[in-house]
């Protein structure tokens, strides 16, 4: 599903990681942790096709991101749900329209999919704010909005970069619960976070693996978390 093979990446000669390999199976739950600046966001961007590795290959759904055209990358992103820490929306659209945006751009904005939008809004607890604009939401609500938008196309993999970075512990738990529910539906979840208590909480509810980026390498974290 997601295969990373001997990947290296650097910014202007400063290596972020080198010779990193990983194979992610369908339906698995991964945490990616590491200190600030260790390359977690870069790793997520590489998996999403927003960056291309300098060395090595990344295969998503069997296709190498390096060889993909813009058209193919867009097609791939429709099968990925991406949530960033600083989630961005189209501020002139309502919450409902923002959640439906992936459907709109895919030309699937019909009545059946509209029903899914309303269901998703209820699922993330934003059903009472359907006509509100994103800038009127709190940090936690924005994260839930980003999650709803990320899953509207029923993606096979969800990549979340520090989704709980800007929210309080209660909201972190709520977001994690939503992620666990998605994983139980068969979705592959890949979350980068530096919040170890969140990882511990997840491990109590789901089989999750934890990876750590440090010293340019990716390694499996032990039970000491």
């Amino acid at each position: 599903m997601l295969e990373i093979s001997k990947v290296s990446y650097s910014y202007g000669g400063n290596s972020v990681f080198s010779d990193v390999s990983l194979s992610v199976a369908p339906g698995s739950f991964y945490f990616l942790t590491g200190p600030s600046g260790s390359g977690k966001t870069t790793f997520i961007n590489l998996c999403a096709g927003a960056l291309i590795p300098e060395v090595g290959n990344i295969r998503v759904f069997g296709e190498e991101t390096r060889n993909m055209s813009n058209y193919e990358l867009s097609q791939m992103r429709r099968r990925l749900g991406i949530v960033h820490q600083n989630c961005e929306f189209l501020d002139h659209l309502s919450i409902e329209e923002n959640i439906a945006l992936p459907l709109t751009v895919a030309g699937m904005d019909n009545t059946k999919e509209r029903a899914n939008v309303l269901e998703l809004m209820k699922w993330v607890g934003l059903d009472s704010k359907s006509n509100v604009k994103p800038q009127e939401l709190s940090g936690g609500e924005r994260q839930r909005l980003a999650l709803a938008r990320a899953v509207i196309m029923s993606p096979e993999i969800i990549l979340a970069d520090e989704p709980t970075g800007n929210v309080d512990w209660e909201m972190s738990q709520r977001l994690l619960t939503l992620m666990i529910e998605l994983n139980k539906m068969g979705k592959t979840i890949f979350i980068s976070t530096h919040d170890l208590s969140l990882i511990r909480l997840a491990k109590a509810n789901v089989t999750a693996r934890t990876l750590r980026i440090s010293d340019l390498k990716l390694s499996q974290a032990g039970a000491d978390l």
Binding site: N70, S74, R77, H84, E88, L90, L101, T104, V105, A106
Partner: protein, 300 residues
């Protein structure tokens, strides 16, 4: 090829493309105002260029086949000499017609300098014969020699002294007009490109979000092209309309200005002016498409 096909299909299809680009912000006014101002200048420039072209053609045509003979003689001899001159011209190959310029024509000719009520008949005036050539052309050297032998008081003027410079000047004005129009089209392209780039810089987040949710490049390009082109079209229509009003309100050179008589825009010229908004739409599609594609490349 398939990209172009999708682009044109989506350009004419779904309204979804429109809603993803915000309506608000200074860029709306910037784009509309730029298109309006450039259209105004383009219409005025094009109108003057077309008028200059017509004027230069008229100058060229009127000078190309015209010449004159001036007879200076005492009044009692003038009529006889005029008859001789007309007879010589009648025998000269290449002369289409020869006409004695009458008192009323002379008055009209001198009216700008002497006024309409000047008693021209009270003073001695030389006789003036206006000659129109045929396509064959007149042998002016031969005619001059014959006139000097038979009518020493006659002076033949085929306007050669000032015909050529005026023809060159007229052609130059016409070429300058065309060059100005070409420059206007290029500068409009640059202005619309700059406005599109400014609008894109203000909407870079929209590009990022659309990319994130899996929008194809064709969708993003079409969304921006449709939005900007509609703004450019509205601005251009307004600019063209204002320029049209200015042209309508221009004073009418209809009488007594010689070469400026009835210099007006004809129907074909007006159709040309009417195409300015369409030209701006084409410029907008081209410029916005380039700008969005460049921005998308930078995002990659």
């Amino acid at each position: 090829m398939s990209f172009m096909l999708n682009f044109w299909k989506s350009l004419l299809a779904s309204p979804d493309h429109i809603q993803v680009v915000p309506n608000t912000g200074f860029t709306v006014w910037l784009t509309t105002f730029t298109a309006g101002a450039m259209s105004f200048v383009a219409v005025i420039g094009l109108a003057f260029s077309l008028l200059c072209a017509e004027l230069s053609n008229r100058w060229g045509d009127s000078l190309k086949s015209a010449s004159s003979i001036r007879l200076s003689a005492p009044t009692d001899l003038l009529e006889k000499q005029t008859s001789i001159a007309l007879a010589i011209l009648d025998q000269t190959k290449g002369v289409g017609s020869a006409r004695l310029v009458g008192l009323q024509d002379k008055k009209k000719l001198l009216e700008p300098w002497l006024g309409f009520d000047f008693p021209l008949e009270a003073i001695e005036m030389p006789a003036l014969i206006e000659i129109q050539e045929t396509d064959v052309g007149v042998d002016y050297e031969g005619l001059r020699l014959r006139l000097s032998a038979e009518l020493p008081s006659a002076t033949l003027d085929n306007h050669s002294q000032w015909r050529q410079p005026i023809e060159v000047f007229a052609a130059l004005i016409s070429q300058l007009g065309m060059f100005t129009v070409a420059l206007l089209v290029l500068s409009s392209l640059a202005m619309v490109s700059m406005a599109a780039n400014a609008a894109l810089s203000a909407n870079i987040k929209v590009l990022r979000v659309l990319r994130l949710v899996g929008a194809f490049d064709a969708f993003i390009v079409t969304a921006f092209v449709r939005k900007f082109t509609s703004r450019v079209f509205v601005g251009s229509i307004l600019g063209t309309f204002c320029a049209g009003i200015v042209l309508v309100l221009m004073p009418d050179f209809s009488e007594n200005l010689g070469i400026l008589d009835e210099v007006n825009l004809d129907l074909i010229d007006k159709i040309w002016l009417g195409t300015v908004p369409l030209i701006f739409v084409i410029i907008s599609i081209f410029a916005t498409r380039m700008a969005v594609k460049t921005s998308l490349k930078r995002l990659m």
